[in-house]
Point group: C2
Chain length 323, copies 2
């Protein structure tokens, strides 16, 4: 199943089923919002699956779907826990910024702002270019309720949806906040989400070991910036969920992020965030030449199936000066 | 006004007005939940103020209020940002654990789990005593919607309620998570809240410089552990809000915490968390003798007005082994 949320004047919007080709939408039957669906997945999913099958079978069903008019699939969530599971990214950042690298013992994870995920086409208001505005292309999963103590094997059954996220970072502020050990507040403003959340089966064989085995294409101002592969996470989403649930219940609708998608051959595939390219420049030439984003800059991120068919739709948005 | 939320089978419970002496409760008129009130404070507050005045004027109004049967005033929140604003605590922890101390430039703050605040009398299930279970007595404020870029002066007007919180910490895990720079996930399970949230005017002169100028009494298994004063925050709640709002809008119902209440004369007034007492023991004797909490241990926290009259009610709860 593929889901999108269309704005209807309420904070949670109106849940829609989306055709596999992302061309058509119709209101989900029997449930108003994605949050409500996640709170009662087992009871509601069979009816929605039947509706989804009918939508895909009959090209006359549904209304035209405009992905960039959609809101985030989950416009607000009770909890957003973002991992940093790509070792290539962590190792590079550790080398460049002289910070701790990744441990194979415990995933890296922080709790971020969840009360608003920006729409995939919405302008992103921020206070200052001096903060070092960066994008971070990543994947995420959305869970139903996960009890405290759930292990990684059991966690897989709680992964209901896969999403694509731009987890923005303010790079000038980030190291100052990291040094406190408290994690990020100012350095992590609202994230954005691609328009369509999909059940893992929509990925086919590309949903593998609780990872997204697909490339994420990132374009900055119309130029290709990276196409890193999603698979090489040191910890799968199942392990990230188990880590998060060790001392807390995870509420239905908890979103778990992969961290910036990154591969060891970053010189070939490029990067999913500017900081990584700057890190490579510092390693190669001793100086970072690529600037962070300027107001008016646009970033586009899209992950498709390997046959080119659409999956999550695209994030495509500008950063702008907050008024 | 004083507010409590009584369980009614819904996640947000039923908002009640509470008499000043915390003896009587009646359902809030015109609004069902505290979250709904915070989303429309200016429109709803005048009617509730009239109802509150009538409740306080007529001792026959309302039903008996049992504080320990109440839920947290805000049983779930979209955002919980906890500061660490007491310099005495930060300086001691920095000395003992060889971590960075407090800067007078920027408040310390992390984003914590907000999808469940435990009821003041509820048992607290946790997985293991080996995690170093600690309590942390603190104050908090609940805001209405705060736009990005709000400064400290304007932030004061967004402080709608004052609350009392037990922000539990798992001390064995905490330093491991701090070293990553990502902040705490496993080390910060669900917090608890005292039963009654009050408007700042209920504190009278004890609401001073956006701080709670009152002592917080903490008892561990029936023995007094600390009575530290709430006033000596290096940053007031107004400054904490402005810090949090620099790069994000704060959603209505955002809770901002003070961090563990702590005073420079901790040898006289005691502490609001075990880690601080252990730190003092390490400084004095080179070894921490006080253990962390065992399952079955009880902690009680209450802040009253200086004339002894009740304010937030008490947190009084046991930690228990998760089943």
């Amino acid at each position: 199943m593929k889901f999108a949320t269309l704005p209807d004047g309420t904070p949670d919007g109106r849940l829609h089923l989306i055709s596999r080709d992302l061309r058509r939408a119709e209101p989900a039957q029997g449930v108003q919002t994605l949050q409500a669906l996640l709170e009662d997945w087992d009871a509601l999913a069979p009816g929605l699956q039947a509706q989804s099958d009918a939508l895909n079978a009959d090209p006359k069903r549904g209304a035209a779907f405009d992905p960039l008019a959609a809101d985030a699939p989950l416009p607000r969530a009770w909890q957003w826990l973002d991992g940093s599971a790509y070792e290539a990214h962590a190792t590079l950042m550790a080398k460049v910024f002289n910070i701790a690298g990744m441990s194979s013992e415990r995933p890296l994870m922080y709790q971020g702002m969840s009360h608003r995920f920006l729409a995939p086409g919405a302008d992103v208001p921020l206070p200052s270019e001096e903060d070092g505005i960066d994008f971070e292309g990543e994947f995420g999963v959305i869970c139903d309720a996960v009890p405290m103590g759930t292990d990684a094997a059991a966690a897989r059954g709680h992964i209901r949806l896969v999403v694509q996220i731009n987890d923005r970072s303010l790079r000038t502020v980030a190291p100052i906040e990291m040094r406190t050990g408290f994690g990020w507040i100012q350095a992590k403003p609202a994230c954005s989400m691609a328009p369509v959340a999909v059940t893992p089966d929509e990925l086919g064989e590309a949903w593998r070991d609780a990872r997204v085995d697909l490339p994420l294409a990132v374009d900055w101002n119309g130029r290709r910036f990276g196409t890193a592969e999603g698979y090489p996470m040191l910890f799968g989403f199942d392990q990230l969920i188990a880590h998060a649930a060790r001392t807390r219940d995870l509420v239905a609708g908890t979103i778990i992020g992969s961290g910036t998608v990154s591969n060891e051959d970053f010189r070939t595939v490029g990067s999913s965030c500017i900081a990584e390219r700057r890190g490579i420049e510092m390693l190669d030439d001793g100086v970072a030449r690529t600037p962070y984003m300027a107001f008016g800059d646009r970033v586009r991120m899209e992950c498709r199936l390997r046959d080119g068919s659409p999956l999550f739709g695209a994030i495509d948005q500008r950063v702008v000066q907050r008024r």
